[in-house]
Each structure stands twice: as structure tokens, then as C-alpha cells.
Subunit: 398 residues, 2 copies
């Protein structure tokens, strides 16, 4: 039997494939990007479920509209107004089955085979996987500590007229943990506004900031072809798969709606009504601030353990929020080799390879800190440090 070219080109997710191994109870895993389960507001969700059933009865269980539950879309629009001063209406918002689905819908709507996609290098592997199914040509633009390299972005857009969109994660980037600076956002905007391309700002982690000030989006609210992606996965629950697409481009939204019909008709209405009830009847800001405190403690435990246990030649990012630290080993060290050695010592992470569209056998890796206690983090980093010394020219001096 012959399969489609697009599925044969699409890699199976490295992370999803190793989750079964890394989730063994005796493995310390920095591999997944899982929220800490102690952050789930279970009692409040149970209340909202009871309340939503009482208030809506069979409507929670029936088919529903493709664009999503209107009061939830209104809540999201209001929140952008309040938090960012952005002027969105419910019709600018479509609820998706997690924000992974948003990536899939957008690539189906915009990409013919061979069309261009600008990716941050390194970039989110779930996006690479999803876009690959549309058989694009990827253009990598280097991600620096304060965001995309603007000269390379300009050069890439100027010399390739097949580019349909640019994919960015401006806040607490996956996999690197970096945040675009205010100046870099402005510089990226000033390049992108001159081209007929869509700018995607994927922002699942934006609310999880413990340091520095909240920054304006790059294009949302001012670029005609701006698409903003959001999610309830990191601030309430990922299990219910609730994300959303925001764009004021009505033609684009119309096509996204058609693709959504063809893909799964509509998002789980039970979960939409329940989360809406949760959002309007609880203090979300107070809940998020608990998550932030938790993750800040875990991040600091990881950064201080890295400072203590890793060779000094190893470089790493220091996030102001979010879920990840990005580690760069000495030139020539294979993160995949280190991964194999680490699994023998029962500690897991994601080697950098799946975050690149062109490079393999890289010397970078991603560490997640949100799903382990500070004590476990220290023990895991200590084990990892020993391995890094063993493959390094540096001597371990204890």
C-alpha cells in the first residue's frame, strides 16, 4: 500500500515517542513539556462542571458551532482588551482542539506544497511536525537571546517570494525559554509589515512571567495579517484540549472555519462550557500567580543546580518565565549521545535535533523544570552534570 508523500516526510514526534520510557517511575524526566499536576484547579473544575450541567443541561452534550462557544470567545476578547489593550471581537476568535490544531488549520489554509515557512532556529517541534504535513519549504532564521536575527529575517523575506508565514513564540520560547525584547519586537514588526506574509505569534506561556515586564505583541493589533494563538493548557488544563486562534483578517478566518469543519466539526462543547464557567467564577489571576510562584521556584532550583554541577563550558538560557531552559554543550558534543548515556542513569531530556529543520546531531538540548520538585531537579541535574563532565575536556573538581 502506498502512503501520501506528506505523511512519509513527517517525522513521528521524538517527545511523544520517548514519553513512555521517560515516564517510568524511577526516571527523572526533564523531557516533556507538562504542567505540574499540582497546579490543576480540580475542586474548582468540579464545581464548574456541576454548575455548567445545571445551567445548560443537554446543550453541553449536543453538537455545537464550529467557531466555538460564544461566551468563551467573548471572555477571550475581553481578556485581551483588559490585559493588552487589544481590540478584538468574538468573531475574531475561533476555538481549537488545543493550539496544536491551530497550527494544523493554518498550514492547511495557507500552504501549497513548496510554499515557504519561516521558522525560528531552533523552533517548536510540534509546529515543525504540523507544518511538514503541508510539504512546505522551511527557511530557518537564527533565534538570538532577544529574538529573531532581524537582518537574516529581512534577507530571507526579500529573496524568497514563496513565503506565506512566519512562525514565532515571542514569550518564554519553546524550546529555548528566551523572550523577544521590546526593541526586537519593534524591529521584527518593521520588517514584516513590508511583506505580504502572515505573522503567527504562538503564546501559550505568556502569562507565566516571574521576572521583567509584560511586553506588547509583535504584530497583534497592528499587522493586517496577524494571527495570535492562545491556549488554556498551561494556565488551567491541557487535558481538555482548548486553544484558540485570534485574527481580524475575516477572509483568513472564513477559510480557517472551513478547515475546522472538515477536520473535527467543532471543539468539545462540554469542555468549552465548563472552562468558561471556571473562568468567570474564579480568580484566574490568583490561580496563575500560584503557578508562577511554583515554576519560579523550580526554575531557580534548576538554574542553581546547573551552575553548581555542569562544566563551565556549558552555556544555558535563564528564562523570565515559562517552562524551559536551553542548554548548549561544547562544540562537537552530540546531545543525542548524552541522551543515551543519561537514560542509563535514569535522567531524561530532549536532545536538540527535533527542534531544527535542517541540522542533525546538534550540541543543544531542552530541559523542562515544571514537572519535578526542586529536590528531584537537583538530583537530576547532578546526574546529568557527571555525564557532561565525562564527555568534556574539563575536569570534574568536587
Amino acid at each position: 500500500m502506498k502512503y501520501s508523500d506528506k505523511i512519509l516526510k513527517t517525522p513521528s514526534s521524538f517527545i511523544r515517542n520517548i514519553l513512555k520510557v521517560t515516564d517510568a517511575p524511577d526516571v527523572i524526566s526533564f523531557a516533556g513539556g507538562l504542567p505540574n499536576p499540582i497546579s490543576f484547579p480540580i475542586d474548582e473544575m468540579q464545581q464548574s462542571i456541576n454548575h455548567a450541567i445545571e445551567a445548560n443541561g443537554p446543550r453541553l452534550f449536543q453538537y455545537s458551532t464550529t467557531e466555538g462557544y460564544l461566551p468563551l470567545r467573548q471572555y477571550i476578547a475581553d481578556k485581551y482588551k483588559k490585559d493588552h489593550g487589544l481590540d478584538f471581537d468574538p468573531e475574531d476568535i475561533l476555538i481549537t482542539t488545543g493550539s496544536q490544531q491551530a497550527l494544523s488549520l493554518i498550514s492547511q489554509v495557507l500552504l501549497n506544497k513548496g510554499d515557504g515557512v519561516v521558522m525560528e532556529e531552533p523552533g517548536y517541534l510540534g509546529a515543525i511536525q504540523s507544518f511538514t504535513l503541508a510539504e512546505p519549504e522551511f527557511y530557518s532564521v537564527m533565534l538570538e537571546e532577544d529574538g529573531l536575527n532581524v537582518d537574516q529575517l529581512e534577507q530571507t523575506l526579500a529573496t524568497n517570494d514563496n513565503i506565506k508565514f512566519i512562525y514565532t513564540v515571542p514569550n518564554f520560547h519553546n524550546p529555548t525559554g528566551i523572550t523577544y525584547s521590546k526593541e526586537k519586537r519593534e524591529a521584527v514588526y518593521n520588517v514584516v509589515k513590508n511583506y505580504d506574509v502572515v505573522l503567527i505569534e504562538d503564546d501559550p506561556y505568556g502569562e507565566l512571567r516571574w521576572s521583567g515586564e509584560k511586553l506588547p505583541y509583535i504584530g497583534a493589533g497592528r499587522l493586517e495579517n496577524s494571527v495570535l494563538l492562545g491556549s488554556f493548557s498551561k494556565i488551567v488544563t491541557p487535558g481538555m484540549r482548548l486553544g484558540y486562534i485570534v485574527t481580524k483578517n475575516k477572509e483568513l478566518m472564513h477559510h480557517i472555519n472551513t478547515a475546522k469543519q472538515a477536520t473535527d466539526l467543532h471543539t468539545n462543547i462540554f469542555s468549552q462550557m465548563v472552562i468558561h464557567d471556571y473562568l468567570v467564577n474564579n480568580d484566574l489571576a490568583a490561580h496563575v500567580s500560584k503557578i508562577i510562584n511554583l515554576y519560579e521556584t523550580q526554575a531557580k532550583a534548576m538554574l542553581s543546580a546547573i551552575a553548581q554541577y555542569f562544566p563551565s563550558s556549558v552555556k544555558y538560557t535563564k528564562p523570565d518565565g515559562g517552562m524551559f531552559v536551553w542548554v548548549t554543550l561544547e562544540e562537537g558534543t552530540s546531545a543525542l549521545d548524552v541522551f543515551n548515556k543519561a537514560m542509563e542513569e535514569k535522567v531524561a531530556f530532549v536532545p536538540g535535533d527535533p527542534f531544527y529543520t535542517t541540522k542533525t546531531n546538534v550540541n543543544t538540548l531542552r530541559l523542562n523544570y515544571t514537572n519535578s520538585s526542586p529536590e528531584v531537579i537537583e538530583e537530576g541535574i547532578k546526574r546529568l552534570g557527571k555525564i557532561l563532565y565525562s564527555v568534556s575536556a574539563e575536569k570534574l573538581t568536587v
Copy 2:
């Protein structure tokens, strides 16, 4: 801005677009394919929610596996064993975000642009829409009262080597309500087994039978490239978007899993755990038999009203189960014209057009009876009858 060829070719769903008009409280709607909301087991679902939260805690709210919740997949495998004598294992089953997503995943995995898809004529419009996004060539094979025209199927497969799959709804077909006879199933199997194509049997309505005996599947359990699709939408709840793909072809399942990762990571785990709890702690057969009794009464009300109020030149199917009656008007009558007239009289249905890949302005239409009471059905059919007489040569004799 330029959109992809595939989205420009894909029609927006006629049904989803008219739902807002047809759902007005003063409109009698035979348009949607909605289960009767009085059939939703709300109290039992509330019990299962409480129980699942108590038993699983944060696991209901966390990320989960792409293939789906193992105990639910085991339940489905066991059910096919019990109900159909089919030998499936959990690894042959992947949980989807409604069975609409199954259609989307399969077409992404199998279809290059221009590859062939055999569709029943008329066929399910959601499938036509979903497959269209992969830019296939459609081959229509006539659907007769007992299933596909086998000679035409054989001829189509023999002369077109680009065909990747055949899509069928063997039980209580959407839109026609017909069921493949035992002999026709055997005949279709004997043709398909000689070709390297996938046979999809989409079976959302199979359990809703009030007349005749349960029939074996066409290819499930005996064709290597068999794919069976199932759903909880018509027997428990559509709002939670839970369907599934069953195939023993491991390579095909591997690719479907990758496409599922790229599309939405995994299906809502909260809903999977809740429905599993519902299924194992309630008498599903008793619940389904209540739905069957309800729909049988409604179907009979519609058929008897049609016999009374429609011109005798109008032909219609008499389903043994499921949700639809298919009506064929006099040659030359436009169902779309009748639709427009009917909307003036506040009665809605789906004109046949979106169920064909090649024909337009057809003289067929689909009526749904599951979402209206017998009294409302009689009133709606009466109004429709008047319109049909007004466009017919026949005289209305009261």
C-alpha cells in the same frame, strides 16, 4: 494574501452554514443530523464525572497519549468481540476527536493530490468536505437501495489505478438511510479484495436498528486494508467529540498516529475517562434500546406523514434504523428551489446538492427525523407537502 489551492477547492459545509437559520425557534428543522437531546444520559454522565475525578484526579486534566486512553480502547475491542465476533486488540484502535477527524487523518495519510477516492453517490457531505482538502480525484459509484452498484465499482477499480480508498456507510447510510444487504456486502467484498485499496466502513449509526437483523461488516476482520470507524456521538453524546479508528494494518496505524500528533496531539482525556466510566458502569444496551424506540416512533411518524401529504410521484427510502429519509422529487424539480420555498414556510431540510461530488441542482433531499417530536414532524411534512404539490403537475386532493 494567497490561500492554498486545497482550501479554495473545499466547500464550506452547507449544513453548518444553514444551522443558524434553521435553528430559529419557529422553524421546523429536518436539516441537521442531531441526536435527540432527550436521549442524553445526563444524570449518569454526572455520576461518571464525579467518579472519574475521584478515581483519576489530575490524570483527567493532564496531557495524555496520542493513541487514546487504554481502558477505553480495550472496551471498544471487547465490544467488537462480543457484538460482532471480531478479533481486535487495543493497539488496533486509535481514539479521534469525533469520527470527522478520522476522515481527515486517513485522507492526509493516504492521499497525494490527484489520487483517487471512490465515493457512494450520494455520499456523506462531511466526508466529501474532509477528503477535498487533500485534493483527490473523486470517482462516484451509484448507491442503490441495497448498497453500491457492484459492476460500476468493479469497473471503476479496474480502470483507475490511482484509487487509494473506497468510502462507505454500510448501515443506515447518510444521507439516504439505506442499509447494504448481506448479499451486496459479500459482492462488494469479492470485488475489493482483488485490489490494493483501503475499504473504509464508517459506522456511526449501526447500533440504531429497529428492523431487520444485524449484518456482518463488508471488510472488517477479513480485508487486510480494512478501516472501521466508530463514534459515541449517536449513542451517548456528540458534544464530547469521541470517535475511533479501527484497523489491524500496523503500518497504516503508525502513520495515522503521526498525523494525529501533528493535528491535535491527543483527544480530550477528560472526556475519554468520563465516557469509559459511563460505559463500564451503565447498561449501554438498555440505553441504546431507549434511543431506538424513540427514533423508530419518529421515523414512522415521518414516513406515514410523507405517505399522506406528499404527491405520489415523490419517492423516498424507508430506513430500518439510523436518522435519515432520502427523498427523490419528480425529474426536473430543483430541491434547492423547494428549500427556498420551504424556508419561507419555516420548514428546513438539506437539498441533495452537497451530497454529490459532480452533480448540482439535483431533485433529491435529506430529511432528519431524530430531533423533532411526532407532532412537529407531521406539521413539518404537511407544510412541505403543500410546497411539493405546488411545484408538481399532480393536483392536491384533500
